[in-house]
Symmetry: C2
Subunit: 302 residues, 2 copies
């Protein structure tokens, strides 16, 4: 089943202890769409500038990603982000942000996208997320991402979006902030009470935890000794989750748990190389092989 | 099978968002021995002062804990610790430490303890840990705890103890420091290369991860919305792990995994009330009931 993602497409400059990569493809919607395309057909909605390199469009096309909702803004420049990871590499230090077209242009969905059933509203101003959500004619499972910038400054608007989506995905600091509870379990319960039946929290090297209809489930991360570039880990995790759900056409608790395990595996591959370099060559067979190893790693019995 | 613990017995004063408790029973060996006594007979070695309340001795005795190695120092005062937890309650802020008898007296094992096969060397100066380890005639599975104070200031002595024990248990910051690697998986591999076939890392609300003979396994924490007092969480986790292993008389990978799940459950009960208050009334039946709930929480399939 087709999966829609609405979100940022960026040109990133990344520094990690393993090297520097200037002007590489980035943005939540890039990571998400390329990752999820291994599971299911993907529709991409976002904005880029005239400076966006053709080779990146070719990558999207090679994954058969629907680009009808990708708008190139005349005379505009693509969103740019520069960041650095040091030490534990668990937190990105932002060195520079140039919103460019992302600051000027609202997302618009082409008519052909309006029947999308599985949807990720990637991190964006909650007003934009709400506008997109309200355009969809028959959403079946809509998940939103968000960040502290919006939680801190536009809480009531974030809460409005929570009222219309089925699921929130965010990291644990964002969840504690949004749920106004320093205890993560309490914060997730509080968020779920605001609307979404599913609250999915990403904890980086500590894995992920989900609350769905009153029930919790948690997974540790796939154990990796070498993480070259954590950029896009959360987006590829969400891509594996939503890609699996859209492919299976389900969103029950059991499917969500299995979807999380695929998200974990996809994210673990992504961080093994810079930007989308690992995703470029990744296959569903690679994913299944590591998923089997991951299942053995998780097994309490035998 | 009998389980020996050598470590601190304290009088704690604890402040958390849920209240204050002055002068309550504390110390790693107290939490460990009372917790592990639910699984297997326990021998306790440690030192207390003349001020140690009889009621705490009664608690130990009620759990049939062997106190032959518990020395009361004439004219001495019991080790005291005062601490506070705020916000996420993941870090104890130490308000006061009075070593008292702990600073003056070396641990001594009575002859009746020397044949102990399952042993926890609780957090202590590595020279003391080594002295104890060398007294044992037939240790089968010796686990040591440690802390940054020793890692930072007595690294070579900590490494010496690592050379004689089977397992290290510590928290993730300590593991990164000891393994000299900000990546936890890398740090655990480095520690294992120093000697112990088993490296067990406690991550508080993020669960625990183990490396045993080249294989990793991780468990998320039991999800708790209310944590009244995290003191002793790590010690009761170790108590569940070692208590299970000693009871089952095994220390293979499969047993270690199951032991970790029991440690997680025991620790989850412990933090639900101040000090040892929850452990006082806890039964093996309580543990089995929650262990079954925990297994369901962990299940990826169904």
């Amino acid at each position: 089943m087709t999966l829609l993602v609405v979100g940022s497409i960026a040109l990133d400059s990344v520094e990690t202890p393993f090297g520097n990569r200037p002007d590489i493809l980035g943005g939540a919607a890039s990571y998400f769409s390329v990752g999820a395309s291994l599971f299911t057909p993907v529709r991409l909605a976002g904005v880029i500038g005239e400076d966006f390199p053709t080779e990146h469009l070719e990558l999207f096309r090679s994954r058969r990603i629907d680009l009808e909702g990708l708008r190139t803004i005349s005379g505009g420049k693509t969103f740019r982000w520069a960041g650095r990871y040091v030490g534990r590499m668990d937190i990105a230090e932002t060195l520079d942000t140039q919103l460019n077209v992302l600051g000027d242009v609202r997302p618009q969905l082409p008519a052909s996208y309006l029947d999308s059933e599985f949807v990720l509203l990637a991190n964006d101003h909650p007003a934009n997320q709400l506008a997109v959500a309200q355009q969809l004619s028959q959403p079946r499972f809509m998940m939103m991402d968000t960040m502290n910038l919006w939680i801190d400054n536009f809480r009531s608007e974030v809460v409005k979006v929570l009222g219309v989506v089925d699921a929130l995905v965010c990291n644990d600091e964002e969840a504690r902030s949004l749920g106004e509870n320093s205890n993560l379990i309490g914060a997730m319960n509080a968020i779920s009470a605001m609307g979404p039946s599913t609250v999915l929290v990403k904890k980086g090297e500590h894995g992920a935890i989900i609350l769905h209809a009153g029930r919790f489930f948690a997974l540790p991360a796939y154990p990796l000794e070498y993480v070259k570039d954590p950029t896009g880990a959360g987006d590829t995790f969400a891509a594996g989750v939503m890609g699996f759900l859209a492919r299976e056409r389900t969103c029950d608790f059991q499917s969500l748990k299995m979807a999380m395990s695929y998200g974990t595996v996809l994210a673990s591959y992504n961080v093994e190389d810079f930007g989308l370099d690992r995703l470029r060559t990744l296959t569903m067979n690679d994913i299944e092989i590591r998923h089997e190893v991951y299942r053995q790693f998780l097994a309490l019995d035998g």
